[in-house]
C-alpha cells in the first residue's frame, strides 16, 4: 500500500500549517515542554517526524482513496467515506473515552498493532480535556 505512486498523489496530501502558540494547562506558554515562544518555534516542528506523524493517517487515507478512485471509479471511495462518516458518529462526547469499534473495524485497525496502541494510550492520559470547550468545538460553536 505504501508503494503506490507517491508523486501522483502528492497534490492531494494535507497542507502543512504552523505549529501555533503552544498553550499549556493555564492558557500560558508551556515553556517546559515547547521552549520559549518565538517565531521560529511556531513555524518549525520540534522533531523531523512531527509533521509527518501528525498527518500520517490522513495522508494514507487520501492516497488510498485516490488510488481506489482511479481503479474502481468514483463510487468506491464515496461509499467507503459514507460508511466512515456514519461510523465516526457512534461515539460519546469528546472528553469521554469512546471505543471507536465500528470505525476501527472498517479501517482494519482491529487487526493490527502499532505505536498508536502502545505508546501514549489516550485512555490513560494524565490530563482531561476541558469538557465545555471540547463540546463547543465539536458542535462548531467556537
Amino acid at each position: 500500500m505504501n508503494t503506490r505512486g507517491l508523486r501522483s498523489q502528492l497534490k492531494d496530501s494535507v497542507p502543512v500549517t504552523g505549529m501555533g502558540p503552544q498553550v499549556g494547562a493555564y492558557g500560558v506558554q508551556d515553556t517546559l515542554r515547547s521552549g520559549f515562544s518565538s517565531v521560529k518555534n511556531e513555524l518549525l516542528p520540534s522533531h523531523a517526524l512531527e509533521l509527518s506523524e501528525k498527518n500520517f493517517q490522513l495522508n494514507q487515507d487520501k492516497m488510498n482513496f485516490s488510488t481506489l478512485r482511479n481503479i474502481q471509479g468514483l463510487h468506491a471511495p464515496l461509499k467507503l467515506q459514507m460508511e466512515y462518516r456514519a461510523a465516526r458518529q457512534i461515539q460519546r462526547l469528546p472528553f469521554l473515552q469512546s471505543s471507536h469499534l465500528a470505525l476501527d473495524t472498517l479501517k482494519g485497525n482491529d487487526e493490527s498493532i502499532s505505536f498508536e496502541d502502545i505508546l501514549n494510550d489516550p485512555a490513560q492520559s494524565e490530563m482531561m480535556g476541558e469538557p465545555h470547550i471540547m463540546v463547543e468545538y465539536k458542535l462548531g460553536m467556537m
Partner: protein, 277 residues
C-alpha cells in the same frame, strides 16, 4: 481563548512534546563539557546463511552502552512466528519493540488468513514501518524463516531498504563475519557445515570487533523444526581463579568463648509475599 490542541481529543503514538526541551538541555550540557547518557546499543555481529533444507541464524551476546558492556549475555535472536526468527542490531530497545510489534501483527494476520505466515510478509511489514519513521528507529535486522516457498533470508536496514540474499551479516562486526562467509560459503551446504560456518563467522566478529563479544547463539530453522541453541558456543568464558586466598577454618585459635542469651518475645508476625514474577 484556548487553542486547537486543547479542543481536540488526544491521539496515541509518539509524542514530540519534549524534543525542544531536550535539544536545549543537550546544548547546555555540551557547553559544560559533560555528555548526555547514550542509548544502549547492541554493537553486534549478526548473520544468517541459507543451506539445503533451511537456514541458520547466528548472533553474539554482548550489549554495550557507550564504552561499557551493559549485558554480557543478551539474547539477540527474537521470535517473530513459529517459523520465522529475526536477529537485531542497533539500538537494543528499538530492535526489541520493533520485533515484538511485527510478531503481534503477524500473529493477527495469520489468524485472519488461517495460514502459516510468510517471511515476505514480515519483511514487508518491517520495511514499511521503518521507512515511515525515516531511520529514527535504529534497528538493523536479519530476518529469516522457512515457509511454504522454502527458506528465505532478508537483511533490513534502519531506513527501510531490504535485501534478499543467501547469506547476510549486519552490525559492527559485519565486515569480519562477511569475510568468513565470502571465503567459505557454498550453495546447498549440509546443516552441520552451515552451523560451523555461522559459528566461525560470529567468532570472527567477536574476536575482531570491540562491540561484539561473549557467547555465540545459533538458531537453525528447517521445515517444521526450530533449534534455538543458546548458547551454542561459549567463546569467551570468564577465567577461573587458580588461587584461593580465604583462610581455612581453624587457622585462628579460639582463646575464650562466652554466650549471652537475649530474651526476646515475638510480638507480631506478618508475612508479605513479594511479586517475583
Amino acid at each position: 481563548m484556548a487553542t486547537l490542541s486543547v479542543c481536540q481529543p488526544q491521539l496515541g503514538g509518539f509524542s514530540f512534546e519534549n524534543c525542544k526541551r531536550n535539544a536545549v538541555l543537550e546544548a547546555e550540557v555540551t557547553k559544560l563539557g559533560c555528555n548526555i547518557p547514550a542509548a544502549r546499543k547492541t554493537g553486534t555481529t549478526i548473520c544468517g546463511v541459507v543451506f539445503k533444507d533451511g537456514l541458520v541464524l547466528g548472533a553474539d551476546t554482548r550489549a554495550t552502552e557507550g564504552m561499557i558492556v551493559a549485558d554480557k549475555n543478551c539474547s539477540k535472536i527474537h521470535y517473530i512466528s513459529p517459523n520465522i526468527y529475526c536477529c537485531g542490531a542497533g539500538t537494543a530497545a528499538d530492535t526489541e519493540m520493533t520485533t515484538q510489534i511485527i510478531s503481534s501483527n503477524l500473529e493477527l494476520h495469520s489468524l485472519s488468513t488461517s495460514r502459516l505466515p510468510r517471511v515476505a510478509t514480515a519483511n514487508r511489514m518491517l520495511k514499511q514501518m521503518l521507512f515511515r519513521y525515516q531511520g529514527h528507529i535504529g534497528a538493523a535486522l536479519v530476518l529469516g524463516g522457512v515457509d511454504c516457498n522454502g527458506p528465505h533470508l532478508y537483511s533490513i536496514y534502519p531506513h527501510g531498504s531490504t535485501d534478499k540474499l543467501p547469506y547476510v551479516t549486519m552490525g559492527s562486526g559485519s565486515l569480519a563475519a562477511m569475510a568468513v562467509f565470502e571465503d567459505r560459503y557454498k550453495q546447498d551446504m549440509e546443516e552441520e557445515d552451515a552451523k560451523r560456518l555461522v559459528r566461525d563467522a560470529i567468532a570472527a566478529g567477536i574476536f575482531n570487533d570491540l562491540g561484539s563479544g561473549s557467547n555465540i547463539d545459533l538458531c537453525v530453522i528447517t521445515k517444521g523444526r526450530v533449534d534455538y541453541l543458546r548458547p551454542h558456543d561459549m567463546a569467551n568464558k570468564k577465567g577461573v581463579r587458580t588461587g584461593n586466598y580465604k583462610y581455612k577454618q581453624g587457622t585462628t585459635g579460639v582463646l575464650t568463648k562466652s554466650v549471652i542469651k537475649l530474651d526476646l518475645e515475638v510480638v507480631e508476625e506478618t508475612v508479605q509475599t513479594m511479586d517475583t514474577s
